[in-house]
Point group: C2
Chain length 119, copies 2
DNA sequence: CACTGTTATGTCCGAAAAAACATATCGAGT
DNA sequence: ACTCGATATGTTTTTTCGGACATAACAGTG
């Protein structure tokens, strides 16, 4: 049973931070590249880059630093702030699952069984 | 300062439950009417009704029961299941704020100050 | 100095979502 | 019967969002 997928999104005025941006940050950290991270999650480079731009603009310090040119064409990596934000977001997700397990289960029990599985 | 507005959304296959539907449920409970609840949150009746329909279809039992005609034109109210779902969702939000206060604060501290206020 | 893969942007188009507008139905009171 | 306010649906228009292309700049390497 595909259980209840959970989605946590934070709003700070214009800026919003949700699973999309968090996954992208994680992908960049692993791949060392915006385009590679985007590809991995089936996202166009343009879109991935726009998300990065939004994050860099919305936080006090950029979360991603990037360089272009060079042997491998360029690359990107998380800044200290980027790592902190990602870690905090992941921790938040984990705590939500932990602290809210009862409520999650309560709601899930009332959902139509057809909704639980993949369709 | 309007700090971090929090948005929690649950996915059960097709069905999704987020702040919009939760607030609508709360509005219906208070107003006793789908249209009044929708108006109160600046939402067209059509949209409010579609949300209700989606919830009633997605859960094992309807969350909202409605009647039309009569002296006051009709009305709507939460079913037992509706009250339970709303209560569980609110409890989930509360627990998230409580359990995740540290992480919330950590992320919020890194956001550009311009983002906190209404612009 | 040409080659290469990535960053960095812009423009255009279609799909999907939301808003706007339009009816139709119902039933207790008057 | 007629009214009134709310439910219940359709239809049309507008807006928004994302995808598809297109292009330029960049810097290390062979």
């Amino acid at each position: 049973m595909t259980p209840t997928r959970l989605m946590l999104r934070l709003y700070f005025g214009e800026l919003m931070l949700g699973p999309g941006k968090a996954d992208l940050l994680a992908g960049i950290a692993e791949e060392g590249s915006i385009s590679a991270a985007g590809r991995r999650m089936g996202m166009s480079y343009k879109r991935a880059w726009m998300l990065v731009e939004a994050m860099n603009a919305g936080f006090a310090e950029p979360l991603v630093e990037s360089a272009r040119g060079g042997a491998k064409g360029g690359g990107a990596a998380l800044t200290e702030a980027g790592q902190q934000v990602l870690a905090a977001y992941r921790a938040l997700e984990a705590k939500l699952r932990e602290a809210g397990a009862d409520e999650l289960a309560a709601i899930g029990a009332l959902v139509r069984s057809d909704m639980s599985n993949g369709k």
